[in-house]
Symmetry: C2
Subunit: 210 residues, 2 copies
């Protein structure tokens, strides 16, 4: 249970619903039944209704939920109506791809700084940004009000970079490095495993084989 | 419900449990209580027990689940004990990062071919692979038994590339392009939204602000 009274498991599902709802909105859909939303989200319908009731949203019997309203509600609950200055540490191929990833900007996550430890990368331009030395992280984090750091370093240096991030006073880390990092209790870490959706595909693919 | 009798929502959660269990195994843990697994996975404990019961796995009262056994069971159920030849279409920064992504190989997903439409990229080497013309997809898919394609193209060309993938007889697509693609019913598509975990971080971050 979070301090807002919304269970952690519900928080984890809100981005899933939001992704489905944004796709529906893009397709011009104005309402969606809880059963249909459940099906598209891979969650059962009673769970969907319970999750959304935590937001004070109940839908209308026989009509369902209003898509634009629900997009706005979930966005607000997740804090996506605020602007989040984000820094990326690690300017390899993944870091480079993430700097340009349109899906961040669309959700209010603005990449305002990029760092690397490699002196040959420091000074390189990427869009409107210039790659900075990772040792400048603390200073830059203060002046640019960076609230979230995306770790896109090799696994071998992930912990030492995470230590610098923590020392800079940043409380949220999104970890793309294939390594477990240890941080103090007041720092939130989410780990991204790019193979998770592939695993779901392979489940279905193996069934078609046999 | 899938043809195997495992509900789709359970399938969607198996990779989450697997990620947690692999981390625990790496830390040397041999058993885990369902409550602890639930907490680490962001799912409630009764749901965890029900999900795992679909695999015929029940744990031992007072002890919990055996971590290595459960890793093996979930891996087998997801088809991760098989080898999956994967092709990546789109050799921009993201495609390049994905070719080198260690997390795929670790789960049995072998990137065996890379394609791009850009003639200046075709012929470039990346590790042991050479970037091929996307128009060769159908021919290569047959000879290399490619079962899954990862789309890492710009949004604007995602649909036309998806059409080529479908024409090549491939039934599973992992879509990183920020676009909705339409495919026949017998083709599975999973969409990756790299901002999903960021949204969970922003939920907690906004609470610490206020």
């Amino acid at each position: 249970m979070t301090s807002s009274g919304i269970p952690g498991a519900t928080v984890n599902r809100l981005p899933i619903y939001l992704r489905v709802l944004v796709d529906l909105a893009d397709q011009g859909r104005s309402t969606i039944a809880s059963e249909a939303l459940a099906e598209l989200s891979g969650v059962n319908a009673s769970k969907v209704r319970k999750d959304l009731s935590h937001l004070g949203t109940y839908g209308t019997r026989g009509v369902g939920y209003e898509v634009p309203f629900l997009v706005a509600e979930i966005s607000r609950e997740l804090g996506l109506t605020e602007d989040w200055p984000v820094a990326i540490v690690g300017f390899g191929n993944l870091g480079h791809a993430l700097v340009n990833y349109k899906g961040f900007e669309d959700r209010g996550f603005h990449v305002v700084a990029v760092f690397d430890a490699d002196k040959t990368k420091v000074g390189q331009k990427v869009g409107k940004l210039v790659v900075q030395d990772v040792n400048a992280l603390k200073k830059v984090a203060g002046t640019q009000a960076i609230s979230i750091v995306i770790l896109a370093t090799p696994a071998a240096v992930a912990q030492q970079v995470a230590d610098k991030v923590v020392a800079a006073g940043i409380k949220s880390i999104l970890n793309f490095a294939p390594a477990i990092i240890n941080v103090p209790d007041d720092v939130s870490v989410r780990k991204v495993d790019l193979s998770m959706e592939l695993q779901i595909l392979s489940f279905y693919q193996q069934r078609t084989r046999s």
